[in-house]
Amino acid sequence: MITRLDQLPAKEAISPGHNACAGCGALIAVRQILLAAPRPLIVVNATGCLEVVTTPYPYTAWNVPWLHVAFENAAAAASGVEAALKVLERKGLGRRHNIIVFAGDGGTFDIGLQSLSGALERGHRLLFVCYDNEAYMNTGIQRSAATPPGAWSSTTPAGKQESKKDIMSIVIAHGVKYAATATPFLWKDLVNKVAKAFTFDGPAFLHVYAPCPRGWYTEPDKTIQLSRLAVETRYFPLYEVENGRYKINYFVTRPKPLEEFLSLQNRYRVLLRPENAELLQKLKQEVEERWKRLEALSQQREAPSSTHLVS
């Protein structure tokens, strides 16, 4: 269990000098994840912001072996890496590595869903990390299946009408041994979940909430505050599912008003207009129902003091 910063390794897997926007939640999360991931390590990356900003040829920000193939097949490419190293180790021609897949919400919820499903079903030993910034940020902020109701995107100018896809339930339905949500605000929770994920012999999934200043129209210095508010409004609950058992990791007894989270983001400017009260109500209702369902699944009625991880 990592509880102090000095317990993290000194050698960074991703170097400064990459091209990410100031305040990019994804890069903060990726850095935290890589610090906690056990070595030896190989990273497989789906097409998306992370891939683009870290590898402008002839430069690379990666200090670990890194592979990008296409948008939708990171889980399949990682399956190949995993299977190959297994047999190469058997034949004395190589050795097994820990494998992390990074994909955005597009590469996970939408176009990447098939290959993710295939990899989970086949049981490859890897950690699939979805950094969720709730739209196709790399191509100019178009809606994805992860975009929440009411959010502006360049293809939902009046605010998205549909719900956000429940990716965690989809993943858990595959019977994975470990799936969890996390966000960079609670870094200890995040890094310990990464370390834990690798203790399972099979696929693990981490859904990381990653604020995007560019796509959310927020100030770069608000990223951590936003990832905190997402949790404290119950918009993005932190929980883990271990061998089918749900556990809420950060119990929000008295949630902050959702508006506090939404009003910081200019992508909700349309939603917060009086004429869209109904859509706002839909979003609030979804947030509440998600929490209630989670509470029921986790069988936790009281805030457990021991898992309160904020220091």
Binding site: T55, S79, G80
Partner: protein, 390 residues
Amino acid sequence: MLRQALLYLMSGNEAIAHAVMDADVDVVAAYPITPQTTIVEKLSEYVASGMLDAEFVPVESEHSALSVCLGASLTGARVFTATSSQGLALMHEILYIASGLRTPIVMAIANRALSAPINIHGDHSDIMGSRDAGWIQLFAENPQQAYDFTLIAYRVAEDNRVMLPVAVNVDGFTVSHCYEGVRVLGKEDARAFLPRTPRPRLEYETPITVGAMFSSMHYHVAKTEQAKALESSLNVVKEVFRSYPMREEGYDVVHAVNTDSPVMVVGLGGVMGTFRHLGRRMNVGVASLRLYRPFPAADLLPSLREAELIIVLDRAYSPGAPAPPLAADIKTLLHTAGLQTPVWSVVCGLGGHEIRLSMAEKLLQKALKAVREGAGANISFYLGEEVNTP
């Protein structure tokens, strides 16, 4: 010293699977599609019974099959997949990435028609749709070649001067499901023919970044280098073809007979056996391309130079194009060499449409007659319809 080669009764598909086993492949990833399926069924048996020490990855699509192969290949593993038709079309995007990342993947393609209308039988529509993906393209005419070319494919692909993926094409059903006696090298000789050569790979101690984002300028340079690598792989293919241990004389990239005939037939795949059979009897020349990409222009040209009429067989067509794929290649070759030999562009055998001996014979009789009468026109038609052409 080559051991005694063993003779087995095998289909083209089984011959490929046997070659993959002999090549000590590490990872097989595949999704079933007719008429490829029996290749990977056989391989899954070999893996399950311990005859082949490999990981068999039963993926959820052909797109993922090739993606698995890509990831696996970049760890230094020897990989294999097989597909046909719609499966190859679904892989299309990844075909370009496999060649662009210079991965020595070997894939067997049991060539089959593309939908719609849906049809499961053999033609070359699938591979011609992937013609420009930067893969080396071999065409086997029979199960023996299917076995031999699969081993040759690994030796070529993994050569440090090449580092490109190779497709081994066999005609769907007519070769993939045709049973013949096949001589096999056996594990020891095959593995001696295919030593493992080190190459850059994903490894923690020596991290590399594969699949980076390229600017226009760097992209242009990289693609030009890739194209040059494919072009110059011709010499390596020829070298490996010649050195293939089970044949004293090796293989030629172009197999030409009766080249002093005024009529030459050029084509790809199993149908060329039919034309060679007729060609011997009717004194017609037949040139069969065993290598299609890179195009062995210099090896083909001598057998075409003296011809008065050239028949090019295409088992695919290119709608709206001035000529179907192979005919367009041959016309370009002739033009470049300053030749104005008339070309009959014949599209035949689409969707497994049978190319009967009588049809082929009639075609050759017509061609010989045209030559005797001094007819010199470029014409295009579909085999089976040639009675309606001048």
